[in-house]
């Protein structure tokens, strides 16, 4: 088979399945040959997952994690989008606020835990605050860049048709910036998912992150640890894919280049 | 005459963000003074905290520790992920094979790997470096894959047209074409590395800026040190980002960018 020829349709399934099977085999045999007593084999992880599901633990933790993400991410959208749009619309305002944002942005949300605990105590609220922090800056940045990248023809055409400033924002700038805003939202959601897991490992006692840390601490159940880790990956992927579907809507499709 | 007033306006414009920051600091101090029993310090308290750290020689020690881990984790990830990613991006079948696996592993917070990191490396520097490596590996790999796939076909065709061998094609077309995208990816991933190191240090090691934050709180609610730590984290993260941006400006890389 010529390695550079166009792949056929069946290959879309063949290669990933082959690679995954090889990986699983590699994993399995590494565990067997190294004689480790602790690190789980693929089968043990599968059993572990069954265990979690059977005891209803997994569902509750998944729901808890998703709930926190929804709240933190939702708050970040509600506060971040209007702020970002405003800053993009008034470059002067952006110039004033930007240095503060650039300073706060590289601080990991996890580093805010002590501060979060002061204001929210230990528990759900603190976790949601951390998620909010993680998602807020990417959303604001995406909105700013979305608005400022709107080609000036659109702005001019809008003014030509007699639109007032608020109408211009709603009927021209927002739709024109929407593709970029959506990308920012998707990335922010990914970050929110990372933060919730990390926050749960430190500051709360439920959720997938907590499951990871707890499985190890209370009994070195590494099969559960790996099972939880994989669940985190899968759910994160599902969230991402769901969001990508939004990008296919006709009224924003034009802003993306899709692979055929 | 015109130059004078232009110069005055520039100064006034430059002062605005500073005035904004000053206003925020004032609000902060007022807020703290209203509740003197509050655990959080005012701005001067934070300055005192920094002075404290300097006096005990801890500031430099912790900054160096964090930077040390970031550097190792980041560089290892770059050295492994970029060539691998470029190769995978070049061969469609390789990308098809590995993509699902990458997509599942990507949304997993590096911190979720802590139990495994501790299992393999024990508590300490290596575990932290491993976490940073994991946090950087997947984004870098995906960046490299994406960079290769974004090379306009015309470049490759032109290269082949001029009779370039595969090796020459890689060296003279592929590599220069991907460099701009790679550099942006490096900058973003370095930002991620900085977030991860702080979080990792809060859990898995006993030095570094992240450790400072958790320790300052646990050993006596020294919130002045907590905030001082956060501020330093922000500043260094910003400096790292600015450093990478200046790399983007190096002339031979600039062809990939329009005016920012």
């Amino acid at each position: 088979m010529n390695f550079l020829s166009e792949p056929r349709k069946w290959e879309r399934f063949f290669w990933p399945i082959l690679a995954s099977a090889l990986l699983l085999a590699l994993w399995h045999y590494s565990v067997v040959w190294s004689g480790t007593k602790v690190f789980p084999s693929p089968r043990e992880v599968l059993n572990g997952m069954g265990d979690l599901l059977r005891h209803h633990v997994l569902w509750r933790d998944i729901v808890d994690s998703l709930r926190r993400v929804a709240a933190g991410f939702g708050a970040a959208v509600v506060l971040g989008v209007p702020l970002g749009l405003t800053l993009g619309w008034y470059p002067a305002a952006n110039q004033v606020v930007n240095p503060v944002m650039q300073l706060l942005r590289p601080i990991s949300p996890i580093a805010w835990i002590p501060v979060a605990i002061i204001f929210f105590g230990v528990g759900d609220r603190a976790a949601m605050f951390l998620i909010f922090l993680g998602a807020f800056f990417p959303i604001v940045v995406a909105c700013i860049s979305g608005v400022s990248n709107v080609p000036s023809v659109f702005r001019r055409a809008g003014r030509n048709f007699g639109l007032t400033a608020p109408q211009l924002l709603a009927k021209v700038l927002l739709p024109a910036a929407l593709p970029q805003i959506l990308i920012g939202l998707r990335i922010a959601l990914g970050i929110a998912w990372l933060v919730v897991v990390a926050a749960e490992m430190i500051a709360v006692d439920s959720g997938l992150g907590y499951l990871v840390i707890d499985s190890r601490n209370s009994g070195k159940r590494y099969d559960l640890v790996v099972a939880a880790i994989l669940m985190i990956g899968v759910i994160g992927l599902v969230l991402d894919l769901a969001f990508r579907r939004l990008e296919k809507l006709r009224s924003v499709r034009w802003g993306f280049r899709f692979e055929s | 005459m015109q130059d004078e007033s232009a110069a005055r306006t520039t100064v006034r414009v430059r002062l605005r963000p500073i005035a904004f920051i000053a206003a925020l600091l004032v609000l902060w101090s007022i807020g703290i003074r209203r509740e003197p029993s509050h655990l959080l310090p005012g701005p001067w308290g934070v300055v005192g905290g920094i002075a404290d750290l300097v006096r005990h020689g801890l500031l430099l020690k912790y900054v160096v520790a964090s930077l040390f881990r970031v550097t190792w984790g980041f560089v290892l990830a770059v050295v492994l992920a970029i060539p691998l990613g470029l190769a995978v991006g070049w061969y469609r079948r390789a990308e098809m094979a590995l993509n699902p696996i990458l997509q599942i592993l990507r949304p997993i917070s590096p911190l979720a790997w802590i139990p495994i990191a501790i299992l393999w490396f024990g508590v300490g520097d290596l575990a932290a470096i491993f976490l940073i490596f994991v946090g950087c590996f997947f984004p870098l790999m995906l960046t490299a894959i994406n960079a290769v796939q974004s090379i306009p076909a015309v470049y490759v065709n032109a290269g082949r047209n001029f009779g370039l061998s595969s090796a020459a094609l890689v060296y003279r077309v592929l590599y220069p074409a991907v460099v701009p995208n790679l550099i942006v990816g490096l900058r973003i991933t370095l930002g991620i590395a900085w977030l991860v190191v702080v979080a990792a240090e809060m859990i898995a090691v006993s030095s570094g800026l992240g450790f400072l934050i958790i320790d300052a709180r646990n050993a006596g609610n020294r919130y002045d040190l907590v905030l001082a730590g956060m501020l330093i984290i922000g500043v260094i993260g910003l400096l790292l980002d600015m450093g990478m941006r200046s790399l983007e400006k190096v002339k031979s890389f600039r062809w990939g960018y329009s005016e920012d």
Partner: protein, 262 residues
């Protein structure tokens, strides 16, 4: 003909647009660029006028000033006696097809300026203009799926739907292939004759100017002045092989200083 005196319009037509001694200077990083130099021009109601000149000579700048997107550094532009200060739906600017809004369908775009109308009236108008520019069947299509020529037609339809007094077109056919361009010129003339709007059309294509305009305003390179105004006295449809056409066209060629043989 003096180059700096206002050029008046034939007596029987009222003046729609009047450009009076307009100059435009741009400042950038301390450097001044003189783009327009003392331009004076009158355009009559229902006239089709072409601004012709090499790329970058400032004709687009003049057009933008007429639309109200830019203010002249000196001089005034008046439409129907009122000084132009800002953009207005009575003077619609048609960009090179890239002004079409990609997030709206054909119908959505055409109806863009009609939001103040009651729904039934709006739908009627949209349908009318869809038909007029020949986009039937594509009402629910998004611009992404249209060809360049179709997008251009869409933009013209959107402009006409708000019933403006004037249309200002900035090299609208520049991005189209030459065959489509010929077709589109015919379409534009057809539409113009149906609605008789005042049109100011910017182009760098001499043939295009002579084929379309009642009068061709030949502009010099930057800083632009009006070199000559040519009256195209051939009635439509114009035979592009007729001696009069070639005579007028060659005259402009010579005026611009172009060689006649390739």
């Amino acid at each position: 003909m003096s180059l700096t005196q206002p050029v008046s319009v034939p007596a029987a037509v009222t003046t729609k647009l009047s450009v009076e001694h307009v100059s435009m200077v741009f400042e950038r990083d301390g450097k001044s660029t003189h783009v327009l130099n003392d331009i004076s021009l009158d355009v009559g109601d229902g006239e089709f006028v072409c601004l012709l000149g090499p790329s970058g000579c400032g004709k687009t700048t003049l057009l933008n000033a007429m639309a109200g997107f830019l203010s002249p550094t000196s001089g005034e532009i008046k439409v129907s006696g009122e000084v132009v200060r800002k953009p207005d739906p009575r003077r619609i600017f048609v960009f090179q097809e890239r002004g079409v809004f990609p997030w709206l369908t054909v119908e959505g775009n055409i109806g863009f300026g009609l939001s103040k109308l009651p729904r039934l009236e709006r739908e009627k108008r949209v349908a009318y203009y869809v038909k007029m520019v020949g986009l039937e069947g594509f009402e629910k299509t998004y611009p992404q799926e249209l060809s360049g020529g179709m997008k251009q037609r869409l933009e013209v339809a959107r402009a006409l739907a708000v019933n403006p007094d004037m249309l200002l077109l900035d090299e609208p056919f520049g991005a189209l292939d030459s065959i489509t361009r010929l077709i589109m010129r015919g379409e534009l003339l057809r539409i113009w004759e149906a609605e008789r709007k005042t049109i100011v059309f910017v182009t760098h294509d001499i043939d295009e100017a002579v084929q379309l305009a009642d009068r061709v305003v030949v502009m010099s390179a930057r800083p632009a002045t009006i070199q000559q105004i040519v009256n195209i006295d051939i009635t439509h449809p114009r035979d592009i092989s007729s001696p009069r056409y070639l005579e007028l066209r060659d005259g402009i060629f010579q005026q611009i200083g172009l060689a006649h043989k390739v």
